[in-house]
């Protein structure tokens, strides 16, 4: 705590650093300290100077440069300056290129259009999206508010998909290779070749033809596949998912006898029990589940209720991080938790005697990994919630455990309220990796003549042990369709360039079975690229190859399938409506076939119990290894710098996939990374071995993980990728076995040679050790005090009122700072007071509910996409130069070296962007008035005035300003760690990772991504969140054109608000009584971050509320400990319970009918107006 800000009454009394229990960042309701890294927890002497520096030492310096290199650079610069300024004297010649003969009528230059489409998710499922098109260029992807899965929000995958369209490394034309030569070809060459080649299979019924594809739920692809099989019955079509997600599917098939999928409705849940489940990320229904979580967890008033979450897991997941009671369990012991819960639930509900008997007789091979009290409390809560409880299991659990979970949910009566089991296409439930494993032998022996690979990368993403790469090379005709360069495409005889989903026609089914159309936003950027379905149709020679030149064949393919599939009386109208809405009305089932007969389910489950054998508790010599996925999925997103640079959940590591261990495990093996001391730390290399298969990786510590457990992440260490992704991180495929499972036991770990630099943002942008940053409370405390307004009086006789949220911070015991500078815009201390500048609508503001933020980071990516924010590369991130305007701070609680209730507990996530202070500290220090205030409460940043003094960033207490140390915005991102890899590190150098000074300019194609409404900033300019001022101005104009007096709520949204799936971020007009943001701010939980500095921020936060089970932890009802410790009298005049009940009940959850209707108010919003619907004619 800097002494200037410290409460006068605590001055000299207490040094927070000396007492880790009272953290500066905030305290959990149990009084546990909050911290971001182990160094911060320990408060080591060397670490403090690191934090206090705004940037790590050396960040402001150019390079390690000697006088000689300086002269070289400057000499070149002077010469260039001379050459560059002469033509600069002439006015640049700008051309206006209009449409000519073919004029699209719906295009109005300057007005974006929005098209409904769907993005196929990896591994099946889809996200409904609206794609913004600026004069034919897709520039932004956001959620389709009417789509049942995305419900208006979007994942970082769909937002970043726009980058893969404009990726300069994409394959641009077909390439033909033989052993001797490689030559560029055309699609016509391929067509000519393929017509003859595939006809040969007619004689053999397709013997020797193999088609490998990604798991995808596309009706049209299925139809084309079936026609292909009809023509060549012996040909093999294998769709696979390399991330080991089969356990749930297999378990549910065994349980019900038929393939089934699980579809959660978390919005109905009162009790959620997660056993290593991760339903809000990387799954086909993730957005729906996040929406559901938000609805179940949100509190609008003190009379509201919220769900309770229990989690038993081996590493933090977003859902587990939000849990009220979290237990850490090693992966091999997780099945025991499921069985123990099942035992208790079945005993209490009396659902099935036989199953219960078998459960009681089941051999746990050791004691329960969690306490009996925890299990009892969980089961009791679940049974009490009945149909409104749900048990979820993750992919690390074996199939049998998933069957048991379904039985528990059935016994609870939860089926059809919180969880549905949807029949699955048997094709989608096939074990693709297993089929490939069987195939490999045949490929090696030359039994496969032709292998077609559609948009997947088996040479990289399958376990090395399978030996696919060698077998693939033995196939004589290797045809690979791929968007970008890949390990598989590099071995192709025909390497074909694929069209992305933004360039081609298609269709895809979402997790709930609802079918969407995919419509192209732009013609394929490179030489007639084809989509999967078009290539399949070409292979099957269903159409005259010449047709592909003139007509997008995908359109006909999709339409034909839909005409056969839907019994629409008026096909044309329904088809057009589908294209406009983005999905077919009436599709999507919530059916639960197969579960009607519960006794079959119980019997199947009971029989499966015999196969459920948990491993032993891992030890030093026999560790558990889990292979997980993150934003890279199976590696397909490796070339997207936004996703590479997005700090990963929990670790905040970018551009790498270190092996994760708990602090104690790492310490025992001597693998703890260097501590943070002015310099940036490096990680230790280690060798991880399972059954003789091993990988060498750096080790990073993750508090709150199971002991003797290693978490690995796949999707890194790409050998052949674009310049961004090649060689980033480490490939973990060598450690996987042919089954492709996620969990391995009996692993060993030993230190290896060398150290490895890791970029983690966890200690960046520290708020100068100021206090009460994250505020938390328990539900009973909120219910008791939430509506109170407490009158405060200081010794000068000044009095003010504060609510519940503020009572948890400094204002409870210290008067707000009063500015002696008369702010001309403020005539009152109250927000938007009468008579001040801020009394006229609109006044923009944001409310962020810390109860709901799970730390997924979609807001960061959406902001990056909307505002042309560059990525900077690994080395630059290490120097603290990341440019993202919106960061999500992550705080741990508890003691990282303990376990149980003392150990790491809930994670808190706090998105921080510019909070738009009404008394902005940045504005007063700018020598050139480049940052000033506007009448709608925005803190403007005027780029062309900025001279780069960085005083504003220095004076910003929130540390939200970003400085362009280099021309990041107009240079290609190539990462940058070439110089720092030490000798002996087993790591391929990526020669393309070069410092920003030496990077090339953006390729022309990359410039097409830019949002034309936002300036691309150049070197030496400060920037920060603008509240999406370009959207505000567009809405202002649109409201005037429509003669609206005010801009209605929901008329437009900031990018972060539109992306946020849980509804944590709400943007709007705070003077509009009916707006969601005004209602959110009226809640007692509302507090201003660092509000005691009298900055009067427009972005305010809502206290994170936990809902502990009194049987496990007594909730804290009077959380004002800070205040109590002063005895209350030192400041005088406190009176609790002044005006209670002032907060009004503000509607219910997002998903209830009332709210849904009000969200349909987006029908008048900009994105729908702009669409080619003819509304605005």
């Amino acid at each position: 705590m800097s002494s200037l800000d410290q409460c006068p009454s605590t001055k000299g009394k207490k040094d927070p650093k000396a007492d880790p229990a009272s953290s500066v960042n905030g305290n959990s309701p149990q009084g546990k300290a909050m911290w971001r890294s182990l160094d911060e927890f320990a408060g080591s002497g060397e670490f403090q100077p690191f934090l206090e520096r705004e940037f790590p030492s050396g960040a402001s310096e150019l390079l390690k440069s000697s006088r000689r290199t300086f002269m070289q650079i400057m000499g070149g610069a002077v010469a260039l300056a001379g050459a560059a300024t002469l033509p600069g004297c002439r006015r640049p010649d700008h051309k206006i290129m209009t449409y000519s003969r073919e004029v699209p009528e719906e295009v109005i230059p300057g007005k974006p259009l929005f098209y409904a489409s769907a993005m196929p998710l990896p591994g099946g499922g889809a996200e409904g999206v609206l794609v913004r098109s600026n004069v034919g260029r897709p520039t932004f992807v956001e959620g389709n508010p009417r789509h049942s899965v995305s419900q208006g929000s979007s994942s970082s995958w769909s937002i970043a998909s726009i980058l893969s369209l404009y990726d300069p490394d994409r394959l641009k034309q077909p390439v033909f290779r033989t052993a001797e030569q490689e030559r560029d070809a055309t699609w016509d060459d391929f067509r000519a070749w393929s017509a003859g080649h595939f006809a040969e299979f007619d004689a053999t019924n397709g013997q020797g033809l193999v088609i490998l594809a990604d798991q995808m739920t596309s009706p049209t692809r299925d139809a084309v596949r079936d026609r292909l099989r009809a023509r060549w019955p012996l040909a093999q079509f294998i769709a696979y998912d390399p991330t080991g997600r089969d356990n749930k599917v297999n378990g549910l098939r065994l349980a019900f006898g038929q393939p089934h999928g699980e579809l959660l409705s978390l919005e109905n849940a009162d009790v959620i029990v997660s056993v290593d489940a991760d339903p809000t990320r990387y799954e086909s229904a993730s957005l729906k589940n996040s929406r559901g979580f938000g609805a179940a967890r949100r509190l609008d008033s003190t009379s509201d209720t919220m769900c309770r979450i229990y989690a038993a897991e081996c590493n933090y997941t977003p859902l587990g991080g939000m849990a009220d009671h979290r237990e850490v369990v090693a992966p091999s012991r997780l099945p025991v938790v499921v069985v123990e819960i099942a035992k208790r639930v079945l005993a209490a509900t009396g659902a099935d005697v036989d199953l219960l008997r078998r459960l009681n007789a089941w051999d746990a091979r050791g004691g329960s990994p969690v306490s009996v009290e925890w299990l009892d409390a969980v089961a009791e809560d679940l049974v009490e919630a009945g149909g409104r409880g749900v048990l979820i299991a993750g992919q690390t659990l074996p199939a049998e455990a998933h069957a048991l979970v379904a039985a528990v949910n059935r016994a609870l009566g939860a089926v059809d309220t919180t969880v549905s089991y949807v029949p699955l296409d048997p094709e989608a439930a096939k074990d693709g990796v297993g089929e490939i494993a069987e195939l490999v032998g045949g490929m090696r022996r030359g039994r496969v003549k032709t292998c077609v690979v559609l948009n997947c990368n088996p040479c990289y993403d399958l376990p090395t042990e399978l030996g696919f790469e060698e077998a693939f090379k033995a196939v004589s005709n290797r045809i690979v369709l791929s968007e970008g360069p890949s390990e598989t495409a590099a071995h192709a005889t025909w390497q074909l360039n694929a069209a992305t989903y933004l360039e081609s026609w298609g269709d895809v089914a979402a997790a709930d079975g609802g079918v969407s159309t995919i419509q192209p936003l732009i013609a394929p950027l490179y030489d007639g690229a084809l989509s999967e379905i078009e290539l399949l149709a070409l292979i099957a020679a269903e159409r005259d190859p010449a047709e592909f030149d003139v007509q997008p064949a995908g359109y006909d393919l999709v339409r034909d399938v839909w005409a056969g599939r839907f019994d629409w009386s008026d096909f044309e109208t329904n088809w057009k409506r589908t294209l406009q809405n983005g999905f077919a009305a009436g599709t999507g089932s919530s059916g639960t076939e197969g579960i009607s007969n519960a006794s079959v389910l119980y019997r199947n489950t009971a029989e499966l119990l015999g196969n459920l054998r948990p491993g032993a508790e891992p030890t030093d010599g026999a560790l558990d290894v889990v292979v997980t996925i993150n934003n890279m999925y199976d590696g397909r997103y490796a070339n997207l710098p936004w996703l590479q640079e997005l700090p990963q959940f929990g670790t905040m590591v970018c551009w790498d996939n270190p092996a994760l261990m708990s602090p104690r495990t790492a310490e025992r093996f001597g693998l703890t990374p260097d501590p943070y001391e002015v310099k940036i730390p490096k990680a230790q290399m280690a060798t991880i071995t399972v059954d003789g298969r091993s990988v060498d990786m750096p080790v990073w510590i993750m508090p709150g993980m199971a002991e003797n457990t290693v978490v690995l992440t796949q999707g890194y260490g790409r050998r052949v990728c674009g310049v961004v992704g090649t060689g980033v991180g480490f490939d973990v495929q060598p450690i996987r076995d042919t089954s492709g499972t996620r969990v391995y036991t009996n692993a060993t770990v030993s230190p290896a040679q060398g150290k490895y630099p890791i970029s983690s943002t966890q200690n960046h942008w520290s708020m100068e050790s100021r206090t009460s940053i994250v505020r938390t409370a328990d539900l009973p405390a909120y219910q008791k005090h939430g509506d109170e307004k407490v009158k405060k009086k200081d010794s000068y006789g000044e009095s003010w009122k504060i609510g519940f949220g503020e009572m948890l911070g400094e204002l409870a015991h210290t008067p707000p700072n009063i500015s002696i500078y008369e702010n001309p815009y403020n005539e009152s201390q109250a927000d938007a007071a009468e008579g001040s500048w801020y009394s006229e609508r609109p006044q923009w503001g944001v409310s962020i509910d810390l109860s709901l933020c799970m730390g997924c980071g979609a807001c960061t990516v959406a902001c990056q996409s909307e505002n042309n924010i560059p990525s900077v590369g690994k080395t630059e991130v290490r120097k603290g130069r990341e440019m993202t305007w919106l960061r999500v701070d992550r705080y741990f609680t508890g003691d990282p070296y303990s376990s149980g209730s003392e150990g790491p507990g809930q994670l808190y996530h706090q998105p921080v962007a510019c909070v738009h202070c009404e008394n902005a500290p940045c504005e007063t220090v700018c020598p050139v008035n480049a940052t000033v205030h506007g009448p709608t409460g925005l803190n403007y940043m005027v780029y062309n005035r900025c001279i780069g003094t960085r005083y504003c960033a220095n004076n910003c207490p929130y540390k939200v300003r970003r400085f362009n140390f280099f021309d990041y915005g107009v240079k290609r991102i190539n990462g940058g760690y070439r110089d720092e890899i030490p000798e002996g590190t087993p790591k391929p150098n990526n020669i393309n990772l070069i410092p920003p000074r030496l990077r090339e300019k953006l390729a022309e194609i990359q410039k097409m991504k830019m949002n034309p409404d936002v300036t691309v900033r150049s070197r030496g300019v400060m920037e920060k969140c603008t509240y999406c001022i370009q959207r505000i101005n567009a809405a202002r104009y649109e409201a005037k054109l429509q003669d609206l007096e005010n801009i209605p709520d929901g008329f437009f949204q900031s990018a972060c608000h539109s992306a946020c799936a849980t509804g944590a971020i709400v943007f709007g007009d705070i003077l509009d009584e009916s707006s969601r943001v005004a209602k959110a701010k009226k809640d007692g939980r509302d507090y201003a971050l660092l509000g005691y500095l009298n900055t009067r921020p427009r972005t305010t936060y809502k206290v994170a509320i936990g809902n502990p089970n009194p049987k496990l932890r007594e909730p804290v009802v009077d959380p004002f400990h800070h205040h109590d410790s002063h005895g209350g009298d030192s400041h005088g005049g406190d009176s609790h319970g002044g005006d209670s009940g002032s907060a009004e009940a503000a509607g219910a959850s997002f998903l209830d009918p009332f709210k849904k209707n009000s969200d349909d108010g987006y029908a008048v919003s900009l994105r729908v107006l702009g669409a080619a619907t003819g509304v605005h004619a």
Binding site: M97, S100, P109, Y940, Y943, D1013, V1016, N1033
Partner: protein, 236 residues
Amino acid sequence: MSVLFPRWMNAFPTVSAGIAAGGLVSAVVGTWYWATPDFWEVGYMPTQPGGGFNHQLHSGKLGMDCRYCHTNVEDSYHSNVPTVSTCMGCHTEGKLAPEYDPGVELVGFIREAYAEDESIPWRKVHHLPGYVGHFPHHMHVRAGVSCYSCHGQIVGMPVVYQAESLSMGWCLDCHRNPEEHIVGPSRVTDLVWVEEHLAERERNPGNATPEAQAIIDALHASKAEGGPQNCGACHH
């Protein structure tokens, strides 16, 4: 001492001070005059492709409304330059009577571009820097600011040139004193009338039409006391 310095050296301090002062004054005056958009930008008149487009003929002599070609000026940020097919509405071969047809040498390039479905690379005359976001034409037309106020007497220009400086100070002049330029939305494109009307209003202030006066009064009553003058209105 007289050996060291000749007599005329006595005048040296005075003369050099005079030269220095003169130099300073001319530097200031020179910068003031020459180093401004008023000098560098006004009068920019690039040669247009083909025969160009004669505004004097089309909108002056023939009396075509600006919005016949610049169709989106009331709907969008951009006032669009017309598509080639708009030109071909009249200049398709044989459409105009022979006595009115300008002939292949003047409109041939349009027909060629249309036949090839290629755009004509018109050269941009009025250019704002990238950090100004967009100039919202639709809002200005709606507020009754005539084309004349920014683009000059277009109907008198055979070849379009930049008539105003388009500098920030010039923008703010009007936003602070909207009464000098607002003529009302109904007559924004009637440039000949606007020029006379504004000259008349300069001689006799307060002579605005009722429609214009209502807008001027509303603007003066607003918080900004004129058009928006905050940075964020244009810079983002």
